[in-house]
């Protein structure tokens, strides 16, 4: 058999490709069923906006899950960072570029700090990632309530909200930011030493350590990235909603993990692609969007997303069994 066919075989067999096929199929089906409303520029813009913040969070979560870790705290850290960002903008006042910058710095610092704390708990105090980030999930949410007094901070500069709901060349600004973030961290993951170490730790932390990788430091960096990106997500959330949405984002962590896993990243670590994560973010969003357009009873949307998730994990498991043989 020729080399081209072999290469094609490998490509088709990759879980990312399977998921891409599913995404394309879903898009085609909806476009055919609702030709006048689904495949429109406006709806595409809506889908891109809906996906943007999740994609930023999922980018960080891809790193975390490749190390065989998990971060349950992203939704709360997002809310916490948004509160800090909003407070920073309130404190600097004016609503001009400098106070918006203060908000960005505030949000990123707040998110990064939670990420570092998660990383330290996991790498230094040897708390399992599930428990450590479950702790931060509650703590970050609680502190967000303490700092805000339980009332949403609404004094977000109108300039920021205009930016958050704006477009460049017809594409929502938030989507551009998210795609740039995903591309940047995707390249780092695929092509740099940092990325290779992330995979190595996920495959086998002990051999990574023996190979001279400072595993503890690396894990802390990975969780810090996830926290930092949750901070970015918090700031983008302020730009999109114009308020801190304290009571919101209760399902964000599960949406993010779902997206990363659908995208072919293995919960057992060592395997994962940023392109897959990007596809994984879009599948549930496109499914929900299309179902709503078709007027399907809302409960079914969750059934469908759940099924796609399970299919993704089955694909992952089969590959692992195959490799083990």
């Amino acid at each position: 058999m020729s080399e081209v066919v072999l290469k094609l075989r490998k490509l088709v067999a990759r879980p990312t490709t399977t998921m891409l096929l599913i995404l394309v199929a879903v898009v085609v089906v909806f476009a055919v069923l609702a030709p006048s409303s689904f495949p429109t520029t406006n709806n595409l813009r809506g889908v891109l906006s809906d996906a943007a913040i999740l994609l930023v969070l999922a980018t960080g979560a891809t790193y975390v899950i490749i190390t065989a870790g998990i971060d349950l705290s992203v939704g709360s850290v997002l809310v916490f960072s948004a509160v800090i960002g909003a407070k920073a903008m309130e404190a600097t006042g004016g609503g001009g570029a400098s106070s918006i910058l203060a908000g960005l710095v505030g949000s990123m610092a707040a998110g990064g700090a939670w990420g570092l704390l998660n990383g330290a708990l996991i790498a230094k105090a040897h708390v399992p990632p599930f428990v450590a980030t479950l702790g931060s999930l509650g703590a970050a949410y609680g502190l967000a309530l303490v700092i805000s007094g339980g009332v949403d901070v609404r004094s977000v500069p109108s300039g920021l909200v205009e930016f958050g709901n704006g477009r460049v060349l017809g594409i929502p600004v938030l989507a551009i930011v998210a795609l740039v973030v995903a591309a940047l961290f995707g390249v780092v993951l695929a092509l740099t030493v940092f990325g290779r170490r992330t995979y190595a730790i996920g495959s086998n932390p002990e051999s990574a350590r023996r190979a001279g990788i400072n595993v503890d430091l690396h894990l802390m960096q990975v969780y810090a990235i996830a926290g930092l990106l949750a901070g970015v997500g918090g700031f983008l959330s302020l730009a999109r909603y114009g308020t801190t949405t304290i009571s919101g984002n209760t399902q964000t962590n599960m949406q993010v993990i779902t997206a990363v896993v659908i995208g072919g990243t293995s919960l057992f670590g060592g395997i994962g692609w940023m392109l897959g994560t990007t596809i994984g973010v879009f599948i549930p969003i496109v499914l929900a969007n299309g179902f709503i357009i078709l007027g399907v009873v809302p409960y079914w949307q969750y059934v469908a997303v759940g099924m796609v998730l399970v299919v993704a994990v089955i694909v992952d498991q089969r590959r692992r069994i195959r490799q083990a043989n």
């Binding site: 075989r9 055919v32 069923l33 609702a34 406006n42 308020t243 399902q251 299309g290 009873v297």
Partner: protein, 336 residues
């Protein structure tokens, strides 16, 4: 192995695609018939498409609103599409608004999950030509909507206080549990509750406690107050979600005989509690009427008529005696 699996996956996908293509083409042709509105298709052109977006699909109050809206849509012969987030969460509701707007319905009826965050997507939908009717919760800028329909929350609090005062014989300490300050409906209800109790000098109003429908929280509150205030005679909760916590705490402290409980809302479990005597009265929002009125307003707005900017439906007091009367029975929080 990997190739066969990949082939199988592709085969299944393409099969599914072919099936849906066939089914889809039928759906598509009928779809275009209603939306193109050619002049000779008189009935099709007059058809109205209205989307109802609930605050959350997992709530009995919204299910009752949905029921009222569906019944009215049937009567008026309009198409009603119902959607809603799994939880009361702006981040989950906004994608739904975006998808609904893509369908270009003539009107959107919504209970916004956040008064600010929902503004941009709803503004985009209104700019796209949809009429907007708000129910239950509201927006910061109401000028976007044709009208808002809610309940008279001051009356809600007043009725709760008056009924509780009557039951406990105008004597003893009373505890009110509401959402924390900042939730507009609860703020109004608290005012009504306080003003009404001021007319009953024999009653001592304890400091307000705050819970937003979390039974664990309300149970902890009631246990603590029971321990510290032996003369507690009555409890009112604004949010029906807190009722289970209050009932549990009273049962655990064996205080159900000394302390009377009146609750807001009328979810199915609360109606059971009323029948069992665990709660003495319910203050009920006219959920079905709200859904019915919202659909009426949407139809009028589509027809270019004015609708009232603000409508506050009076709340009802439900007791064991009037539970089967049509007014009360129809507005209990349940779907249909």
């Amino acid at each position: 192995m990997s190739l066969t699996k990949a082939l199988r996956t592709s085969a299944v996908l393409s099969a599914a695609l072919v099936v849906t293509l066939t089914v889809g083409s039928c759906g598509a042709s009928s779809d275009s018939a209603t939306t193109s509105g050619s002049p000779d298709a008189g009935s099709a052109a007059a058809e109205k498409n209205i989307s109802l977006i609930l605050g959350t699909i997992s709530d009995d109050f919204y299910k009752a609103v949905e029921c009222g809206a569906k019944l009215e849509a049937e009567v008026k012969g309009v198409n009603l599409d119902v959607q809603g987030p799994a939880q009361f969460d702006a981040a989950l509701q906004i994608p739904i608004v975006n998808a609904v707007a893509a369908k270009s319905p003539q009107a959107i009826i919504i209970a916004p999950n956040d008064s600010g965050a929902l503004m941009p997507p709803l503004k985009a939908a209104v700019d796209g030509g949809a009429k907007l009717v708000l129910f239950d919760t509201n927006l910061d800028d109401t000028s976007l909507a044709a009208g808002h329909i809610g309940s008279d929350y001051v009356l809600y609090g007043q009725q709760g206080a008056a009924k509780l005062a009557e039951i406990i014989g105008d004597e003893g300490s009373v505890l009110g549990i509401f959402s924390p300050p900042g939730v507009s409906t609860n703020d109004l209800g608290r005012k009504g509750f306080q003003d009404e109790l001021a007319k009953h000098p024999g009653i001592k109003l304890l400091p307000f406690e705050f819970s937003s429908g979390a039974p664990g929280k309300s149970a902890a509150i009631v246990s603590a107050v029971l321990a510290s205030k032996p003369d507690l005679k009555g409890i009112f909760t604004f949010n029906g979600g807190d009722a289970q916590g209050v009932v549990t705490a009273l049962r655990e402290a064996k205080a159900a005989d000394q302390v009377s409980f009146v609750s807001g809302d009328a979810q199915p479990f609360q109606v059971d509690q009323l029948q069992q005597g665990l709660v003495k009265a319910l203050v009920i929002q006219q959920a079905r009427t709200m859904g019915k009125t919202a659909v009426d307003f949407a139809i009028r707005a589509i027809d270019g008529e004015q609708v009232p900017a603000e409508t506050a439906l009076p709340t009802l007091v439900g007791t064991l005696d009037n539970l089967t009367e049509p007014d009360v029975a129809d507005n209990l929080y349940k779907g249909c």
